[in-house]
């Protein structure tokens, strides 16, 4: 209790003594690393600016006890803190409140935030202390798994912007949580399933105890009255409990029957139903076998496997949503009074919007003032930035690279080009038919075989031993072959694979995505950002190499992407350029150490300087190779030609080679200039007809649809322009750094850069399907044994009760031995 009192008083009056001593001990260990997070700080007090801000904020608000708490409860999960210093003014905008804030019955309001960097119990402690610091905030509850904080506040008194600023300063940048409705639906599903698991588990345990007594009675002898009592009790427990708990399987089977699709739920529901009805009949008749113990166990195991699988899917899905939440959803609107930050939804056509360098353009519109270059890579796939001046049209979703722009919105939200693309992506996602899952195909044949064998058994035994025996053996067969292990075979293998894949940075949104990837077919790769790094780099330098330093000196002040790429490559001191002036669409001119240096596009430079024939043709060669040529002139004479390009990822060539060796046909589908695409394809060893450039988003979609008629198609990309094609493809894969729309459309998200991850994904999918097949063989073998015993009339409920868990255990063991998505030994990640 004493430390609780200290913590509480820390926020109030008793700040002096308590926090003073804490800070003292903290400073004493400065040599041990960062005062906030404990990481190496190179002799300084803090490892980074973020930690310093958070440390100061903690001291200011008397929350130094945080360090004591963190030392005690965190398990090596602390890391450097990050703050953004944003104003969060948009959170107090009426439009935001309308969208995200929910009124409660008691007059307070509730909002859900997504918080960055919540890791451990100490974060829970810190975040839930916010009500004491912000006026009008009644309660904050943090959910670590979802990184979700529910804030209850008094709408009349509290400012959400203040609250968000406070959380930000404490090292947890805030984003609106956008999955509130989805979360609520999932919660309902989860609760319903959990209740069924509980009921089935209780029934299984109790019925099994009763079954023990009955089995013992079979061998040791038991009074008829007691046997009957135990049988009736088993029935009264099992039938209502299983009738309720097995509802999902009955519903699934009914759905399969009405849509005339084969589904694994069909044989399961058949087995359970026959078992329950037949068992009840036998209890009432007072003779014949009952299988209630096996059935209850079966239902319990199946429900648990569903639970495990859905948890695994949720994890991948919510990780995708986290990425989603990180994309900014605000715009800077210009009004008479100045700039205000408002939610994107509040912008309407006609509004003037400021777009700072580095920001994403939030609307479709026309540039009113300013000049800049826009990166449309994610929207169209073009690798070269487009220059814009007043009067040019700009599109939402492009990134402003150079200078501030003022844009007059012509369309916002759904009406923008990107908004229309998003709708098309959604349509494609809905249209895509679910694949017939492998296990369901097996289940279809399984049902047919079991029913046929059951009919034969019934007829055969009826002819030789009478209809009663025939019916008994046929029913036993239907119950014993209820495919428990078969139903576990896929979820177990898939859950283990998804968990391992997530640890390897591959987020697979559903188990069927793995099946979609397991058989080689056609794979379309986007170029910009997927095969290449998605940013311009200096790749060629022809001519006087000393001129590099001069060129870098005049380019140093420029924000143009080509200039930045050049400066980044030159590792020399700044020579200091004077008299620099930049011409948009042309280049830069300036004086360096008395020499006049001109750097820019070939037409602009040749108009100002004389060009030797060699360098002129060099520039042309660069252009035909798909690179952006730049000429460098010194004192009126061109001395060098530079080539810039979006460099191909170093692991792209080996990855493509592996894919082709595994039987995949690889094609490039890009929105970029066909010349650039061909050059990239050539460097990766792809034939020219496999490289298509200049493809619009609609064109990509059409290409995927067309190819899909011939076989499975995988679309790998990163941009909004790939998203519709991803949604239409058999399987869509979004690579590291993908646009929001692609993250939504893709079945798999790759969260680490490079194409090696792609190979691992395909390999892992194939390995997982192999395990599924092995599991199916194992479970079918057990069914064959049980079925044979039933057909020959040798089956006994006790054998069934032993066979079933045994087969499930074998499947579990087989799944855990999967080699899919295992970390390669040499590059095993060190624990944090």
């Amino acid at each position: 209790m004493t430390s609780a009192a200290t913590a509480a008083s820390g926020t109030g009056t008793g700040t002096g003594t308590g926090t003073g001593s804490d800070t003292g001990t903290g400073t004493g260990s400065a040599t041990g690393g960062c005062l906030h997070c404990g990481l190496p700080a190179a002799g300084k007090d803090f490892c980074c600016a973020g930690c310093e801000v958070v440390h100061a904020a903690l001291a200011e608000h008397g929350l130094d006890a945080y360090y004591k708490v963190a030392d005690r409860v965190s398990m090596g999960e602390r890391g450097p803190a990050r703050t953004t210093g944003k104003s969060y003014a948009e959170l107090d905008d009426p439009a935001f409140r309308q969208l995200h804030v929910q009124a409660r019955a008691d007059g307070l309001a509730e909002v859900a935030f997504f918080l960055e960097d919540v890791r451990c119990a100490a974060c829970v402690w810190l975040v839930e202390r916010v009500p004491a610091l912000c006026d009008g905030v009644a309660e904050v509850r943090l959910d670590l798994g979802r990184s979700r904080a529910d804030v209850v506040f008094d709408p009349a008194r509290a400012s959400l912007a203040d609250t968000a600023r406070m959380l930000d300063r404490l090292g947890h940048p805030v984003h609106p949580y956008r999955g509130v409705d989805r979360d609520r639906l999932r919660q309902q599903d989860d609760r319903a399933l959990l209740l069924k698991i509980g009921v089935a588990g209780a029934a299984a345990g109790n019925v099994m105890l009763l079954a023990f007594a009955l089995y013992a009675g079979m061998f040791g002898g038991m009074a008829a009255g007691q046997t009957s009592f135990f049988r009736w009790t088993s029935m009264l427990v099992a039938v209502p409990a299983l009738g309720f708990a097995a509802m999902p399987f009955f519903r699934g089977a009914l759905g399969a029957l009405t849509t005339r699709r084969l589904h694994l739920d069909l044989p399961i529901a058949l087995g359970i139903l026959v078992g329950l009805v037949w068992g009840t009949l036998n209890v009432v008749r007072g003779t014949g076998e009952i299988y209630f113990d096996s059935l209850a166990m079966l239902v319990f195991l199946l429900l648990v496997s569903r639970w495990v699988q859905s948890k695994q899917h949720r994890k991948a899905a919510s990780a995708a949503e986290l990425l989603h939440a990180l994309t900014p959803r605000t715009a800077r609107r210009l009004r008479e009074g100045g700039v205000e930050e408002v939610p994107l939804e509040a912008i309407v056509a006609g509004d003037r919007v400021e777009v700072r360098a580095g920001d994403t353009v939030p609307v479709d519109g026309v540039v009113l003032s300013g000049a800049s270059a826009l990166d449309a890579g994610l929207l169209t796939g073009e690798s070269r930035p487009a220059e814009v001046v007043a009067g040019d049209a700009v599109h939402a979703g492009t990134v402003n690279l150079v200078g501030p722009l003022v844009v007059s919105a012509t369309a916002a939200g759904e009406a923008t080009r990107i908004g229309q693309l998003a709708r098309r992506i959604e349509d494609e996602g809905r249209r895509r038919a679910a694949i017939q899952r492998f296990v369901d195909r097996v289940a279809g044949r399984f049902v047919a075989v079991v029913l046929a064998v059951a009919a034969l058994t019934a007829i055969g035994w009826s002819l030789t031993a009478g209809p009663r025996v025939g019916l008994e053996h046929a029913m036993a067969l239907l119950i014993v072959t209820c495919p428990c292990a078969l139903a576990l075979a896929t979820p177990l293998a898939v859950s283990i694979a998804l968990g391992r894949a997530a640890r390897r940075g591959l987020l697979v949104k559903g188990g069927d995505a793995l099946e979609r990837l397991a058989t080689p077919g056609l794979v379309f790769l986007d170029k910009t950002g997927t095969l290449t790094e998605g940013r311009i780099r200096l790749t060629d330098w022809i001519g006087d190499s000393d001129a590099r330093v001069l060129a870098a000196a005049v380019e140093r002040g420029s924000a143009h992407p080509l200039a930045r790429a050049l400066v980044a490559e030159v590792d020399a001191d700044d020579l200091g350029a004077t008299d620099v002036h930049e011409v948009l669409g042309g280049g830069v001119e300036g004086t360096v150490r008395g020499r006049r240096v001109t750097v820019g596009a070939p037409p602009w430079v040749t108009a100002r300087a004389s060009v030797p024939a060699g360098l002129r043709s060099a520039a042309e060669v660069l252009a035909t190779a798909g690179k952006t040529p730049v000429l460098v002139a010194v004192d009126g004479r061109v001395v060098a030609a530079a080539g810039f390009a979006d460099a191909v990822r170093p692991d792209a060539a080996p990855a493509i080679e592996r894919l082709r060796a595994d039987g995949w046909r690889v094609r490039i589908l890009s929105g970029d200039d066909p010349r650039i695409v061909r050059a990239v394809g050539l460097s990766l060893g792809l034939p020219l007809d496999a490289c298509r450039g200049g493809v619009t988003p609609e064109g990509k979609l059409a290409a995927v649809r067309e190819a899909k008629a011939a076989g499975p198609v995988v679309m790998v990309g990163d941009g909004v322009n790939d998203a519709a094609a991803m949604a239409a493809a058999t399987c869509g894969v979004a690579v590291h750094g993908s646009a929001e729309a692609s993250i939504d459309a893709a079945d798999v998200l790759v969260r680490r850069p490079g194409l090696a991850a792609l190979v691992e994904l395909f390999d892992g999918a194939a390995a997982t399907l192999a395990v599924i097949r092995r599991n199916l063989r194992v479970s079918l073998a057990y069914n064959l044994v049980g079925g044979t015993l039933a057909v020959t009339g040798l089956i006994h409920p006790l054998i069934a009760a032993v066979l079933m868990p045994l087969s499930s255990l074998s499947v579990l063991f087989s799944s855990s031995r999967s080699r899919g998505f295992r970390a390669p030994r040499q590059e095993k990640e060190s624990p944090r």
Binding site: M1, L142, L144, G145, D190, R191, V237
Partner: protein, 45 residues
């Protein structure tokens, strides 16, 4: 062995009490977040 006829229903009654308690815990949201509460217990207050 006559006690069986009394004890067995009694045992089942206890079991159904446990199921009811589980149902209540689910309804009141105790199973919604299985990650934070085990950490929260480490905090004193």
């Amino acid at each position: 062995m006559i006690t069986l006829y009394l004890v067995l229903p009694l045992a089942l009654l206890v079991a159904s009490g446990a199921v009811a308690a589980f149902a209540w815990s689910i309804r009141s949201g105790q199973m919604d977040d299985l990650e934070t509460p085990p950490r929260r217990i480490l905090l004193d207050d």
